[in-house]
């Protein structure tokens, strides 16, 4: 188990290194990154001075070396818009985004498992059709539009939840539900197909032959076989959720990393953009790392290998 953790740790580091490389190159997609940082009305002298100051006039490998050093030491520079340390700005907003993403993940799993299990058990009945309809629409609907609809319905029409802002559980519900919709649909679909598969297995027939009642077969035995692969899917989805949070935070004015990043992008505040992007990448890697270990813990077949 320790060797496994170590191996996965090294892989996570490689992933982070490649992320740094990718960000480095994306910033240079247009050639000279100096202009990205500068306002449109900057004079030539200002640009030239800034280029020297940032080291953008040096050879590529030196630029990369500096960039890598900055990332490792956590020095992402100062926000151009706010004149604050970019990293601490990002870190301050991270918890709110995590609240939203994990809240959404929780809702998605809680909704998806019963739908998937019932659709599978009652295959080809009206329950199954309603469940499948839910998953099809849930996968096709754009999240930010769903958010707008929910605001229209729950904030404007029946005034149950606030339309935006943060600070309370009440504020969290609408954005978390919005963010959860797509994942819930995917999980439900996955749960249904995996469950159908599991229910046809020999070992389920074995439990039936012991006289166990159907609910115990479904929720005690078959569900565990289904949940193990679902963990991987759910963990991978956390990355998608963190990305989706950027738009959903904008829709609901949720004070998280997404808002910060969007404002930074609009203001071309690249130190903040890079710090934010890097921390989302880091979060995804760390989450995947823990998900893998969790998967190893719940799956006896992996544990021993």
């Amino acid at each position: 188990m320790l060797g496994y953790i170590l191996k996965r740790g090294v892989q996570t580091l490689i992933v982070l290194f490649i992320t740094v490389v990718l960000v480095f190159f994306i910033i240079r997609l247009t050639g000279d990154p100096t202009y990205l940082y500068m306002p449109d009305d900057a004079t030539d002298e200002m640009v030239e001075e800034f280029r020297k100051q940032m080291g953008f006039d040096r050879p590529m490998y030196m630029q990369f070396g500096n960039f890598l050093k900055d990332v490792v030491t956590g020095d992402f520079g100062e926000s151009i818009m706010y004149r604050q340390d970019a990293l601490s700005m990002v870190l301050a907003k991270l918890p709110a985004t995590f609240q939203l993403a994990f809240g959404a993940l929780f809702i998605a799993i809680m909704v998806a498992i019963p739908i998937g299990v019932i659709s599978a058990y009652k295959q080809n009945t009206i329950f199954d059709r309603i469940g499948t309809g839910f998953t099809i629409v849930g996968q096709a609907i754009p999240g930010f539009w769903l958010g707008l609809l929910l605001i229209l319905l729950f904030s404007v029409t029946i005034k149950l939840f606030p339309s935006g802002g943060g600070g309370s559980v009440l504020h969290l519900i609408l954005p978390a539900v919005t963010l959860a919709a797509h994942s819930a649909a995917r999980f439900a679909r996955f749960t249904r197909s995996t469950m159908l598969d599991v229910l046809r297995k020999d070992y389920i027939r074995t439990v039936k032959s012991t006289g166990a009642p159907m609910y115990s077969i479904l929720y005690k035995y078959a569900l565990k076989n289904t949940l193990i692969p679902l963990i991987t899917i759910a963990a991978l989805d956390l990355g998608v959720l963190l990305g989706g949070a950027v738009i959903i935070e904008f829709v609901f004015s949720w004070p998280g990393l997404g808002q910060l990043l969007l404002n930074a992008m609009m203001g071309r505040d690249f130190p903040v953009v890079i710090a934010g992007v890097f921390f989302i990448a880091l979060s995804v890697s760390v989450i995947n790392f823990f998900a893998d270990i969790l998967y190893g813990l719940v799956n006896p077949q992996v544990r021993l290998k």
Partner: protein
């Protein structure tokens, strides 16, 4: 991680070699038509998709008004007002006409991106899977990192660097999108390489390009088509999201995403501004997904069971 990600991917797009249906092109067409009619959800999707494509082609010709024509005297008319079935926006422009004209933008973005990302991803996937070795290792690392990074965030960052506009948003989507194709194609090619008929061709000295073009490419058709259909819907949603945030298609050019963005400011007074463009997106992605699911059912004999 890499291995598990692959498992998840292949579960989404179960990939099987093309089963060649014997007979002429016409009878093949008839066969698929017959399959389509007997597949209720696929049939519904196809009808929706055909309508959306026709609207996209004829655009301005069938729009009742000039989508850019403002008339501040007729602003914010509710739906079913005289002459404006879906109402007008804050500048008195006809919403139906803007949705109709916006269709073409969404379809062009979805179509061009899927062709671009599909070709690039397929070529890189074939190189990676066929030649293996260090080039495969490097490519797959990049693919892993890109896939674990939130898609929409990647598109946003690239759009920020490149700037707004139709060409740039397509470019950003392709850069973030090719990896999905590369992964599926690579794993297919790896499996194909072990097949007897490929080994036999290599052993008898058939040139590489001929093996790739004549034996490998035709067998990649099914997985690529299925993935492409599902990805197209994702691209359309992503573009709408990016435009909604103000990084994509800029107003006054009508696009579904920026219509939602403008309508958001009037959510408390004029619900129709955000409702109808969203329905247009939902119907399009729903149609594409339903056809995609049907394609998987009909092209993939394994999946039918």
């Amino acid at each position: 991680m890499a291995k598990k990600l692959e498992d998840v991917q292949t579960q989404q797009v179960t990939v099987v070699q093309t089963s060649q249906i014997k007979g002429s092109k016409k009878s093949k067409f008839n066969y698929y038509l017959k399959e389509l009619i007997h597949h209720p959800s696929g049939f519904t999707g196809a009808i929706i998709l055909v309508i959306v494509i026709l609207v996209g082609i004829f655009g301005k010709m069938i729009a009742p008004y000039d989508p850019m024509a403002m008339d501040l005297g007729l602003k914010l008319l509710p739906p079913l007002s005289e002459g404006h079935i879906l109402g007008t926006d804050q500048l008195g422009r006809d919403i139906l006409s803007r949705i109709i004209v916006g269709t073409r933008v969404s379809l062009i973005i979805g179509g061009v991106t899927v062709i671009g990302a599909g070709i690039i991803g397929t070529v890189i996937g074939i190189i990676s899977g066929y030649f293996r070795g260090w080039i495969d290792a490097v490519i797959m690392r990049i693919v892993d990192v890109t896939l674990s990074f939130p898609f929409i965030l990647m598109v946003l960052v690239i759009s920020t660097v490149l700037g707004a506009g139709l060409k740039n948003i397509i470019f950003a989507l392709i850069i973030a999108g090719w990896v999905a194709f590369a992964r599926i194609v690579r794993s297919e090619v790896l499996a194909l390489r072990e097949k007897e008929f490929i080994i036999a061709s290599i052993a008898t000295g058939v040139p590489r390009w001929e093996i790739i073009v004549k034996h490998i490419l035709p067998n990649l058709f099914t997985p690529i088509i299925v993935l492409a259909s599902l990805q197209t819907a994702n691209y359309i949603i992503a573009e709408a999201g990016v435009s909604f945030l103000g990084f994509g298609i800029q107003p006054p050019t009508p696009a579904w995403g920026n219509m939602l963005s403008e309508g958001r400011d009037f959510i408390f007074s004029s619900w129709w501004l955000i409702t109808f463009p969203g329905i247009a997106i939902l119907l399009t992605t729903l149609g594409i997904n339903l056809v995609g699911d049907w394609l998987r059912d009909v092209l993939d004999p394994e999946y039918k069971k």
